[in-house]
């Protein structure tokens, strides 16, 4: 084959694909700000939350007894428990599997009254298995499950925050054997749980955080 052929082939490919380079760049590709901006934002939410929490006693009318505080399970605790229940399931890890992803997302979004997004974690080596609906203390909760090639599973627990849940920045919690990364903002709380070492979970959780928090 001659150099002329190669040049022709190159010209043909360029002619057809060069226009892609001048297409407007999708907005989502610009959103990758460094994570610390997200952390800073979340940290501020935490500070505001604490300030409100501290201020509440001053606004409470004197003499009204406060209901005995029940040691309610915290958000990461609930996520870890849900992980422990469903992640070992061999035959029924999810209610709706990933082949029906569109239906899954629509269904859970409707039940939670939230517009859910399912992060893509193939870049981190995890593939979506599917998801299920779970009961939470104040309403429905969604759980998405992922699995890597070695069969290790991760769950992403998504719910509206409870009244008791403080907004939280990107935080780490250890609940028994389960490591949990979680963050809670005004509308939604996310927790990524897995029986994985912390660096791996950090890596995946960062990817989830980036995809969910533009």
């Amino acid at each position: 084959m001659s150099e002329q052929d190669d040049a022709q082939l190159k010209a043909l490919l360029k002619k057809h694909f060069d226009p892609v380079a001048t297409e407007p760049i999708p907005a989502r590709m610009y959103l990758r700000r460094p994570p610390w901006i997200g952390y800073a934002k979340a940290a501020m939410l935490v500070a505001v939350g604490i300030a409100i929490g501290l201020a509440i006693p001053y606004f409470r009318p004197a003499g009204v007894p406060v209901a005995a505080a029940q040691p309610a399970a915290t958000f990461p605790m609930r996520a870890a428990r849900a992980h422990l229940v469903y992640a070992p399931e061999v035959r029924h890890p999810v209610e709706v599997d990933a082949t029906q992803q569109e239906h899954l997302v629509k269904w859970l979004s409707k039940r939670l009254a939230l517009e859910l997004k399912v992060p893509l974690l193939t870049g981190e080596g995890f593939e979506l298995l599917g998801g299920r609906l779970l009961p939470g203390p104040e309403g429905p909760v969604a759980q998405f499950m992922y699995q890597d090639s070695a069969g290790k599973r991760l769950t992403l627990y998504v719910s509206k925050p409870n009244r008791a849940d403080q907004p939280a920045a990107f935080r780490y919690a250890q609940e028994g054997p389960v490591s949990v990364f979680y963050w809670i903002d005004r509308d939604c709380g996310y927790a990524l749980s897995g029986e994985l070492d912390r660096p791996t979970l950090t890596r995946v959780a960062t990817a989830v955080y980036r995809q969910l928090e533009p």
Partner: protein, 163 residues
């Protein structure tokens, strides 16, 4: 800021990804994953050829995606390709994409990096992490196959590559 250094390469990454993957959404997902990984791994970049570094990241993400879809990347595509070229007349984008899709992914990568990015063999070798000799053999086999597929439909204006 690291991301500002990467932004100028987004058009190059998108153009290449579109030709590599075929469909727009799949290609943009590949770009997105590449950008995310690049930002995350930016501390590993040693000042040098940023473009080659970005394409090497895209290569890794692409290979992972192929694995995730369980498409063996090292299997030669069957000589007979199922869908015939659709239109009569000059080669259109769909025909070209179909022809590209008959190449083994690793041949497609080399052919496209050289054609679209004007990469030298050394650049391609660095971006894909393969020896120069492999670059050359994949390039010539890939080009040859592409020509064969495109010419298989008989002489058509704008399609026939004259030898």
């Amino acid at each position: 800021m690291d991301y500002d250094l990467i932004v100028p390469y987004i058009p190059n990454l998108r153009r290449y990804a579109r030709a590599l993957v075929g469909d727009r959404d799949g290609a943009d997902d590949l770009v997105q994953d590449t950008l995310e990984r690049a930002v995350r791994k930016f501390h590993l970049w040693r000042p040098g050829d940023l473009r080659a570094w970005l394409f090497s990241i895209m290569h890794n993400v692409f290979v992972n995606q192929l694995k995730a879809r369980r498409i063996p990347s090292d299997v030669e595509v069957d000589e007979t390709f199922a869908a015939p070229m659709s239109s009569v007349g000059p080669l259109d984008l769909q025909d070209l994409q179909r022809a590209l899709s008959t190449l083994a992914p690793e041949q497609r990568e080399v052919v496209l990096l050289v054609a679209l990015e004007d990469m030298s063999y050394a650049d391609v070798s660095r971006a894909l992490g393969i020896p120069m000799g492999t670059v050359m053999s994949r390039l010539s086999r890939g080009r040859e196959r592409l020509r064969k597929v495109m010419n298989a439909e008989g002489p058509r204006a704008g399609l026939k590559v004259v030898t």
